[in-house]
């Protein structure tokens, strides 16, 4: 987590505990701002194969990709802008997490983004674009009557407790859920079977 943000100091400065200006919300926002800066230009960086020197001195054609995030539950929540105790892979509700017999649709980054934007924009109502400052750094925050802690938490509930902010990983290459992995696995299995066929045919 980000060491620059301390709850006690922030609360002494007037920041509330919950809501759109709350401490946890701000902490997650800071984390994603950091990662947005870190991953700036990631798509162009990983677009092609690079020729890099490895530790043994050999220059190899190398393909850089994001493999995983190491962390426990609070860190995973922060990375996914998600509420606590939720499945980060599929859309299994909290009450069914203990039920291993059922399967649920996998989560998709673009769908998550779309849902969050829709809710954050107030679904086109008067409260539209209340949380626009969360998505754009150049928008100055103006408090409005419609944007209260209650409304914010109510909006969050509709998207499963997700914080209504711009996730730094949305739109970055190599970031998506297991669905794409499965597609890749299909292709890979296909390639393997195809190579078997070619061998048999030959």
């Amino acid at each position: 987590m980000i060491p620059v943000f301390r709850d006690k100091v922030a609360q002494r400065a007037g920041r509330p505990q919950q809501g759109p200006d709350g401490c946890s919300r701000r902490k997650i926002h800071l984390l994603h701002q950091c990662y947005a800066k870190l991953l700036d230009g990631w798509n162009s960086l990983t677009e092609r194969v690079k020729i890099l020197q490895w530790a043994d001195g050999v220059w190899r054609r190398s393909y850089i990709f994001l493999a995983a995030l190491l962390g426990d539950q609070p860190e995973a929540d922060a990375f996914c802008c998600d509420g606590s105790q939720t499945c980060k892979i599929c859309k299994c509700p909290k009450r069914s997490l203990c039920d291993t017999t059922r399967r649920y649709p996998l989560r998709n980054a673009s769908q998550e983004q779309q849902a969050v934007y829709q809710v954050a924009d107030g679904n086109g109502s008067i409260a539209s674009k209340l949380f626009e400052r969360d998505r754009r750094a150049d928008v100055v925050w103006k408090k409005q009557r419609a944007c209260t802690i209650y409304r914010y938490e109510l909006s969050r509930k509709t998207v499963g407790g997700k914080h209504l902010l711009q996730n730094a990983f949305w739109g970055k290459r190599h970031f998506d859920n297991q669905l794409q992995v499965c597609m890749d696995m299909y292709l890979y299995v296909l390639q393997r079977y195809w190579s078997v066929f070619v061998c048999i045919d030959a």
Partner: protein
Amino acid sequence: MDTDSRVEPPRHSRKRERAPPAFTREESEAFSSYTESRVGEKHADRMLEWASNPKYRSKNLRYGSIHTLAEHAIDEFIPDGVMKEDFTEALDGSQRLIFFWRCLYDAIKELLRNARFAGKQYTHAEIKYNSTGARAYSAFNTGEVYEVGQMHAGEGVSPVPIFLSSDATLVSKKLGGHPIMRESPIPFVWELACIGMYVQVLVCIHGIGRFFLSTKMYVLAGISTYLDVYARIAILVVGIALYWYVICTYLLVSVCIDDNRSFFPVQCRWDAPMTRHVPNLAAGWWWA
């Protein structure tokens, strides 16, 4: 002329009235070594013990514990009341943060070519099976994430997986990772073609019954993806069949029946311009 006037000497030549230094040179060096390094208090105490060796200037080192030395240094150099001072300011929306960062690509290159990792790097994926033919995961490069990375990298290219972590203490073998995978740039048509071929190949190998009864796709993709994939295949297959059915029927009717007005809105011969056939084809689609 007033001869009693006194001109003060230049400021730099004046002797400054200084208090005697609170710490000796040896103490300062020991304390700065402690603060600039990452050693703990235990190691710092050992450093002090070593520096107190009577062969050196042991009398210049008056502290046996780094903790006491640090406390005295804080008392000496940090102004009174600074710890209780409130440096916060009211939030008015104009606060800006400055992030100090390092280029990720440079960091990757630096780590990759670090000589300490020589002989300890995986350069390609390895698929391993045990004696029963089941997939064996004995190392990181035998895992599926690495395998997928190798697949995208291609033959003869080494995957460089990047792991993100928010806490250094969490990087251990016993903790799970949240895979962050790519967005598929594969075109939809190609995706369908691949899935179709995949299904055909599996059916040819295992037979239709065994393929549809197998849980392979359930396990891999989950039920929704399973249904989604089959819905797409069904739409594709039915759509193509329907398309050729409509075309063939239309040509048959146009050629064999001289007056096709009763079937189609526009009467035209089969070798008429394509624009003449459009209303008839649309009617055929609707009818189908």
